[in-house]
């Protein structure tokens, strides 16, 4: 690390205070109506992502409640088949595309720059664009739903059921375009995260010192980048089949229905890991903080994250075991699907070791982490069962599978996320959540969850298939379904308490200190809530747990301009300071671009020409986006050129 000069005058408290004031006014977001649409601060956008995603979580939860109501008793006629099909499709689509992915990315957007000690996230305007696309996608989907154009072909939209002949009306197109929306958003965010983690880390934070949560987000971003193109191709070809009569999925003209399943699951299985790797990162953070020791086996944990990501791309066929594929191929995918348990196992053992050797503090976030173990491990074990071809042939597409993936997703992702909110709420809002309400909600949720989903294992084995809007009384599935519905009610109550806790604490919660939990990562080094510029002076890092090490001898960064949005760019491996980059001002153009692109997407549901004339506003918006407000001082340009010549001369 470049050696620092001691007692620099710029580190006098008065000087720092002055700098802070100047930074505050440089980095502050514009106010007012237009300002609201032009915000590019990663913290604001991150919060927007999280809040919006939870909004959709509530909607999808209500849909789930409706389904449990319909299935509570046999031969129920509360909800007809048409509406029921829309409801379970909306539930799945919302949870996967509008809640799970955006919310984990949202946490990354908010905390990654803070955890790596940066002033901002890379490409803030792209980030803003991503948010607007996400918001529009959700609004679009629910408006369509209320107009009775809600998708009704399942969140997997298998062809030919979703194809032009059997996918009647525009419902399947709505699904396909929703996917285009959210994937655009997801891909944009993953670019921001990858570049931020690679290039904007605080000096000294070499790759082997990155916090585990950041590692998880990095791996996730790469998984997004590699898996979502597959669903883009899938939904694109589906739209083409439906709109202009291509034959990708028409067996009579050389297409094939299984091509869809391959393309879809090549995305949709990694999707599961996209959803739950960041959650594992959160678990690592929480466990480290509440055992007061670094997580055991940092390297092992990072490697198992990466391993999970790699194997995650080799297991998609286990969703297609009943399509009559050749046996040899299937047993390969069985092996892969079973072996992916190993990295997850390693992580769980490392965490248990951490708890074993640390001093455990039972705060609500840790409870959620423990709940994660109790629930997720069971999901993982039923996953092993599903990987076995013969067993899968029995329970595939039954309620056993429903139970399995709710144990995996709610256990593996929702519990850590709720814990994460408890954990970071003080940092985000400056107030603590109530522990009492938090714990009540947790225990209710744990009980309600198991009451809801455990019986569904048995229902599946008793032969109850998924996606049925009713079942005859003589099947004897009534009692267990009733229990399941009662559990759903309990979950509803638990989540309401959680929500109330958030609402109340926002106003009346105890004021939070900078580092209320005594955690070790950089986001706790700044004030709660953090200022728009995140840090002054910008920190450097000497180890994996900066706040637990003696920071006195750690140098800090000075010399970043305070009058422009300058950010320090460092090198990929060792995070040595490399150059300064001036980041863009807030602007309304990303919003307008999102409007234009959204218009194009929605229009192309009805006519292919929308792509042509929809491109015009998109182009205009992008030009407006790219056009610089002001040329920055030619002086600096000359300085720059001179500098280059100087260095060239030195080399010669």
């Amino acid at each position: 690390m470049t050696e620092g000069i001691a007692d620099d005058p710029r580190l006098e408290p008065s000087a720092l205070a002055r700098e802070a004031r100047e930074l505050a006014n440089t980095w502050s977001e514009p106010r007012g109506f237009v300002g609201w649409f032009s915000c590019v601060d990663h913290k604001t956008v991150g919060v927007r992502f999280i809040v919006t995603a939870f909004g959709f979580f509530i909607l999808a939860g209500l849909l789930a409640a409706a389904m449990r109501l319909q299935l509570a008793r046999p031969d129920n006629t509360l909800i007809g088949p048409d509406l029921y099909n829309q409801i379970f499709t909306m539930h799945g689509t919302t949870m996967m595309f509008l809640f799970a992915v955006p919310v984990v990315l949202g946490f990354g957007i908010y905390f990654v720059p803070l955890m790596i000690g940066s002033r901002a996230i890379a490409f803030p305007r792209l980030l803003a664009f991503a948010y607007w696309m996400f918001l529009f996608s959700g609004i679009f989907l629910y408006v369509m739903f209320f107009l009775n154009i809600g998708p009704d072909r399942g969140w997997f939209s298998y062809v030919p059921l979703a194809g032009p002949e059997y996918g009647i009306g525009k419902r399947a197109d709505v699904w396909a375009q929703l996917v285009s929306f959210t994937e655009t958003s997801g891909l944009a965010v993953s670019v921001c995260l990858i570049v931020t983690i690679f290039k904007l880390r605080a000096p000294g934070m070499s790759l082997n010192r990155i916090p585990l949560f950041v590692w998880a987000e990095l791996v996730t971003a790469f998984m997004v980048a590699c898996s979502m193109p597959s669903i883009m191709v899938a939904s694109g070809t589906l739209i083409l089949d439906r709109l202009v009569g291509t034959h990708f999925y028409n067996h009579a003209e050389g297409g094939d229905a299984l091509l869809w399943q391959h393309l879809f699951w090549f995305f949709a299985h990694p999707e599961v890991y996209i959803i739950f790797l960041p959650a594992q990162g959160i678990v690592s953070m929480i466990i480290a903080t509440f055992t007061g020791r670094p997580v055991f086996g940092y390297i092992a944990l990072v490697l198992s994250l990466v391993a999970t990501a790699f194997i995650g791309f080799g297991v998609w066929v286990h969703h297609m075991f009943t399509t009559g594929l050749p046996q040899f191929g299937t047993s390969f995918f069985t092996a892969a699907s079973i072996m992916i348990v190993v990295p997850s196992g390693v992580q769980i053992f490392c965490w248990i070791a951490t708890l074993w050797s640390g001093r455990v503090r039972f705060a609500t976030p840790l409870l959620y982490a423990l709940g994660f173990f109790v629930v997720f491990i069971m999901g993982g074990l039923t996953g092993v069962m599903l990987a076995a071809v013969p067993l899968d042939a029995q329970v595939h597409d039954t309620f056993f599978v429903v139970a399995h993936f709710h144990y995996v997703l709610i256990g593996g992702s929702l519990f850590p996320l709720l814990g994460g909110i408890h954990y970071w709420f003080p940092k985000m809002t400056g107030r603590m959540l109530s522990e009492r309400m938090g714990k009540t909600a947790f225990w209710l949720l744990l009980i309600g969850f198991n009451a809801t989903f455990f019986p569904q294992h048995i229902l599946g084995l008793m032969g109850m298939p998924r996606r049925v809007y009713t079942y005859p009384v003589e099947m004897q599935w009534g009692a267990l379904n009733l229990l399941s519905s009662a559990g759903a009610l309990t979950m509803f109550v638990a989540l309401s308490i959680y929500l109330a806790n958030v609402a109340i604490s926002l106003r009346r919660g105890a004021v939070a200190a900078d580092n209320p939990w005594g955690a070790s990562t950089l986001e706790w080094a700044t004030s709660s809530p953090p200022p728009p510029y995140n840090f002054v002076p910008a920190p450097t890092v000497g180890g994996r747990d900066p706040l637990w090490e003696t920071r006195a001898d750690l140098p800090v960064v000075v010399g970043l301009a305070a009058d422009t949005r300058e950010v320090l760019v460092t090198r990929l491996m060792d995070a040595e300071p490399d150059h300064r980059k001036e980041f863009p001002e807030p602007t309304v153009w990303p919003f307008l671009t999102a409007v234009a692109v959204g218009g194009l997407y929605i229009g192309s549901i009805f006519t292919p020409w929308a792509v042509v004339w929809g491109a015009v506003p998109c182009t205009i918006a992008l030009i407006g986006w790219a056009w610089p407000r002001k040329g920055n001082r030619p002086r600096s340009l000359e300085r720059q050129i001179a500098h280059r010549h100087r260095t060239a001369a030195e080399h010669a």
């Binding site: 000069i5 001898d553 150059h579 056009w627």
Partner: protein, 199 residues
């Protein structure tokens, strides 16, 4: 004791290649686009495998226009190379010139592409072969058009716009992206024009 300070005020305001965040942005973008091309090509191979004859019931596309385009594209890498070099020398004059030359090639390519579509001998809704062929070529065209537009805006900016030194790295990334479009064309050409002949 007060912490020491690392002074970064002397560090440059701009960087090229893998040092700059623009480069990494471009790289991630190419990763995604590349994955999409890969997915389309995998679908092509899959559909080809499902069909007893290939191309099923139609003549293979006419080679002429596609090959001509390949040549134009290969040639376009020359001005592209000089533009990149000029950008990294921060040499505005020659950057402007080479950007214009490269643009001419890009536009020529788009024009020839129209004739390519007309010489495919199959419609997108004739059968699965036609669908995947049109989609593959169309997807590459999409990249082509967007990148040409992108370069146009940047060139205009270099002439009239308020100048920022970041424009130089933008120009260099733009050149890099053009290379991507060129390289992506090779497999697309192979599958659209050669695969129907090999089978």
């Amino acid at each position: 004791m007060k912490p020491k300070a690392i002074d970064v005020s002397q560090l440059p305001m701009n960087a090229f290649g893998h040092r700059s965040i623009m480069w990494w942005g471009g790289a991630s973008l190419m990763l995604m686009e590349g994955a999409m091309f890969a997915m389309l090509i995998v679908s092509y191979i899959y559909l080809k495998g499902r069909s007893p004859e290939w191309p099923p019931g139609y003549f293979a596309p006419v080679l002429f226009w596609g090959t001509l385009n390949t040549i134009v594209l290969a040639a376009s890498t020359i001005p592209n190379h000089f533009a990149k070099a000029a950008a990294e020398r921060l040499d505005l004059r020659s950057l402007q010139m080479w950007m214009c030359v490269a643009l001419v090639f890009g536009v020529a390519f788009c024009v020839i592409r129209v004739f390519e579509f007309r010489s495919l001998n199959v419609w997108w809704d004739s059968n699965a072969y036609g669908s995947i062929t049109w989609t593959l070529l169309g997807f590459h065209t999409l990249h082509l058009v967007t990148d040409v537009m992108d370069s146009t805006v940047l060139t205009v900016l270099l002439f009239v716009g308020p100048l920022q030194e970041s424009h130089f790295s933008d120009a260099s990334e733009n050149a890099l992206y053009w290379y991507f479009v060129v390289i992506a064309w090779i497999p697309v050409y192979a599958f659209v024009y050669l695969a129907p002949r090999l089978a």
